[in-house]
Structure formats: C-alpha cells, structure tokens
Subunit: 340 residues, 2 copies
Amino acid sequence: MVNTKPYVIGIDMGGTNTVFGIVDARGVVLTSDSIKTRKHNNIEDYIDELYTECMRLIRSIDAEGKIYGIGVGAPNANYFTGMIEDGVNLPWPTPIPFAQLLSEKFGIPVAITNDANAAAIGEMTYGAARGLKDFIMITLGTGVGSGIVINGQLVYGHDGFAGELGHVIVKRNNGRLCGCGRAGCLETYCSATGVARSAREFLEVRSEPSTLRDLPIDAITSKDVYDAAMAGDKMAKDIFEYTGTILGEALADFTAFSSPEAFVIFGGLAKSGELLMRPIRTAMEKNMLSIYKGKVKVLLSELKEADAAVLGASALGWEAKAPAVQQVAPSTAAPAAPQA
Amino acid sequence: MVNTKPYVIGIDMGGTNTVFGIVDARGVVLTSDSIKTRKHNNIEDYIDELYTECMRLIRSIDAEGKIYGIGVGAPNANYFTGMIEDGVNLPWPTPIPFAQLLSEKFGIPVAITNDANAAAIGEMTYGAARGLKDFIMITLGTGVGSGIVINGQLVYGHDGFAGELGHVIVKRNNGRLCGCGRAGCLETYCSATGVARSAREFLEVRSEPSTLRDLPIDAITSKDVYDAAMAGDKMAKDIFEYTGTILGEALADFTAFSSPEAFVIFGGLAKSGELLMRPIRTAMEKNMLSIYKGKVKVLLSELKEADAAVLGASALGWEAKAPAVQQVAPSTAAPAAPQA
C-alpha cells in the first residue's frame, strides 16, 4: 500500500520554547521552527499560533494534505488519555485535552506522550537504540526524565505515567528538596540544575581553590562547571565525578528492574561526554548485582541535539490514531512508519 | 481443539525442599509431595528421584500419558536458556541445563523460571492478580524476590534476569551485608531473615524491655517477632513498623518505574498480615510521587500457602515448548491453559 501522506509533524513542548518540524519517514527534519510557549495566557491562542506556524512550514515544502499525523512530547502528557495532566511549568490550567484540541484544529490524528518517552521512541527509531528491544532512555536536562522500553514496547504503566525515574529517591535522609515536593530525588542531583546545585554546595563546604569561585555563586550553571572541568579545575571535575557516581548507582538499581541491554543518555548534560559517562559506567559496574556485571551498555544518544526532540515526537506521529480511539490500550511503541 | 493432555507438573525447587504436584487446568493441585533437595550429591541422582516420585503421583491419579508439560520455579533459573545459572543455595555445580535434563528424563516439554516469576504467573492465573495487566509480585521469604508483569507480560529483560528487586539498594551507606556480596539490599531488611536481623539490632541498640529478650538472641526468627508483636510487645511491633516502612519506601520507588496497578505480597512473611501491610501502605503513600498517590493497591497473595509455589510453577508448564525452542524469545506470560 502506498502511503499518500508521507510526512508527520513533530512537536516538542517545553516550558520555555515549543519546537516543531515536518519530518519524513526516514527521520529527516525537512523544516522546523519554534514559538514561545508562555507567550499566550490561554491554550486556545497558543494552539492558534502553533497551527499558523505549522501551516506556514507545510506550505513552504508543498506538503498540504500530506501530513499523516502529529506527535507531541510535552511535560506530563499522558499517552492513554491524550491529556496534559499536570503542567507545573506551563502557564495554563490543567488538565488540558491537548491531543483533542490539536486534532480538532489540524483535522488529523494526534498522539502525545511525555518528552522522555518521545525521546525513547525517537532513539529506538532513528538513534542509538535502533535494534534494541530492552533499553532505558535517561534524559538529563532541567530535570531527569526517562523512557523505558521492554520487549520492544514503551512502558506506559496502568495509568500512562510509568517511567518517572528522575523521581526515584537516591538520598533517603537529608536529601535535596525537589520541585515535586519531596526530597532526595535523582533529578535534584543528576540534572543540569543538580550539577549547578552541587557546585554551590561544594563551594560552600570545601575550602580549596577553584576557578568556579570567580563566578557569582547563585548564577553558576552546569555549563560553567563543564567549562571549568575541561580547563582542568579539580573541584569542577569532582562535581562531575559526584554527579556520575550518583547516576551510575541509580542505573545499577534500575538494571535490577528490567535488565536492559543499554541505557541511552540524552539531553543537555549528555554533552559533557566522558566527563560524565566515565563515572556513570564505573559506579554502575561497581554497584551492580553480579549477574548483570559487564552486560549493560551506557550509550550517548545519537540523535542530533537540534533535531532530537522534534524527531522523537515525530516518530510518535506515525502511531497517531483518530481521536475517538485515543483511550484504547497502546499498540507496539515502534511506529509503523512507511519505509521508503 | 480438545487438549488430550489435561495436566501439568509444577515443581518448586527450594534450597531445602523440592515440592511437586500434578495440577489441572483449573489450578487444582490433584496430588503433591516433596523430596529433599540436598540429599543427592549430583544432579542426575536428584532428577532420578524427582522422576520416580512424580511418576508415582501420576500413576496414583491414572494420569499416565496425560501430562502436557512441566513448569519449574528454581533459584536463578533462566527462562530463555533453561539453565540454572548460579545456584548459591544448591549443592551442585552451576550452570545446570535443568530444562534440558528434565525434558530428556520425562520426555515432555519443560519451562523454567525463577521462583518469584513463577509466583507472579501463578498469581496472575489463579490468584489476587487475575485480570491485572500491570502488577509486581513481591515474595518475602528467606530473601526478597520479585516478578514484574507489564502489559500482561512477565518481564524477563534482555538476558532473562529482570526483576531482582530484592537487590535494589535501600541503604547506600553502612547498609547490612547481603548474601550477594554487596550491602544495603532490600532483602537484608525486608525478608524473614531481615526481620530476625532487625530484632537482634533492636535488642542490642535499645534498652527497653521486650519479651524477645527471653529468647536466645541468635536463634530469634521472624515468627518469634510476629508472635511477640501479636501478644502486644512494643519492640516487636516497632520491628514490623521498621520493616514495612522500608518496604513501602521501596514500593514507592518501584512505582515510578512501571506504574503498576498493584503490588502483590507473597511468601512466609506475608502471613504477618496487617502488622506488615499497614506500615507498607502508609510508607508507600507517604513517599510516592503525587501523580501515583491513591492509585496503587497493595494486596496479599490469594494463593493457598501450601499450594502456591507448585501452582505458580505449574502455570508455567502450560507454556512449555519442546526443548529445541527453549532459547527463543518469550511469548506472552499468560499460559494458554485449556479452559474447562
């Protein structure tokens, strides 16, 4: 069967920017752009602008009538219900029936999921996890997200909210306060924000010299720590060691759950490369139950940073069904993309 | 199609006893018996005795030629390979090609998995998890085991070793030494053995009176602690509170992985009932990410204690394939048992 609709729209809604692009079945982002998520006080105006901008892109590549579906990665988006259930970083009241609103506006099927799940689908379809049936995507950005794939299927759980590994407690006593209202969550240590928090802690608790002391302490970012570490600063290197060790210990525990073939590390902090990957691998191996030792890879995402979020969301677009069936159980996560 | 072989053999191999029974498609254990696992110095003699005893049972109910397959729950048994890969509590050198040896002896297909997975399959087929597609079985015995079911399928992981939740680290610093060679594993606190260890710790560290002080400290069992708690002993009740709290905190973390509809608690310690279940539920709810609160049940196993292990293993027997295909990827975990 020839698919006469060879494109999907991928939308990555972040707390600041919403990035969108038109993607073909090979995973090529033909054109993309972005709007400011917080510009509009109500969701309808936001969707109007998104529609206008997407239609402009569609016309620019002569793709009118050729869009199969829309895939969206958004914070706390639920694959089963099509709702954004609790958007702490979004300016609109939740829950938002986002898949329905978008589908009504565009007149094509929409599938939504949270951003980390979208990244996992993208990685499985186009990236480092091609061919893997059991892997866990770990996204290191402002927070820590995860997308879990078992036996080739994305794990949604009974309510669509599986895979919140950034909120596993890694420090039970006296842990750092988390945006979720609890304390000691993995993401308070291993996100980009967590690295910056570690820097502030290290600078206060330790007395040794560091080039990080030249910066205003409250403005230090993970990028500053990275730059200092690459320039040889001992404390900055220790901060990455500390971060990677906590993450590696957590990955060892996650392995006891689903025994994945690999973890795929994605997101802004993943750009730190071996500075972070080496302590992750070391701590993971050291803390693993013996039956798992030497078996589990830790890979860096192979998706291009600029395209990754849109690509991941777009891969979900091939799965999108008409709105009436949004609430049925999930099919296999691997998208039924037409092959060229 | 009429299935002319209406029975399966369920075998539960423990470190001390091996229990086996003939089970029909409704999950009725028609007859069962046991042998001592450690009686034989080599595995062939053990299998010979197992064969002799099973054949005796089969003849006693006129079931010759009517056995569809054999299901086995055994420590560290691998569903994919049919091997017992590392039998720390067994008297024979590992790995043992147990499915193959048994299948050659009996002349019928054999499927094996670890004891906790067998229990999960049994619970899904005949017990508290009937109708659930997403649940986690937690077995509290000498150790802590787990069987994870996601979307109706048992999770084996890429190597067959998924679901070792008893070896998730719950105390990162100064944790109790575990039989696995590491420290701080969940099972060092929340198994029957863990409860006895807690009793010894409490008795040494605290000065308050307790009826547990009348017992020789090194011989205290979880049963002693249970009896004391039921008789109103404050320290014994505190020990169950401590145990249940640690387990509940762990269940809150496990929820962030697969968002199950329920945890099913099974095994000797589960007989403690509300003494253990109340602090489990309280700590789980208190420590959960808000999106999961109030959604996840903690259930006691509904399988009869005496039959449970054999029933769980037997349910796997309906899945057994000829030995030549033991290494293929798993089919759906729910057994294709003939329905009466």
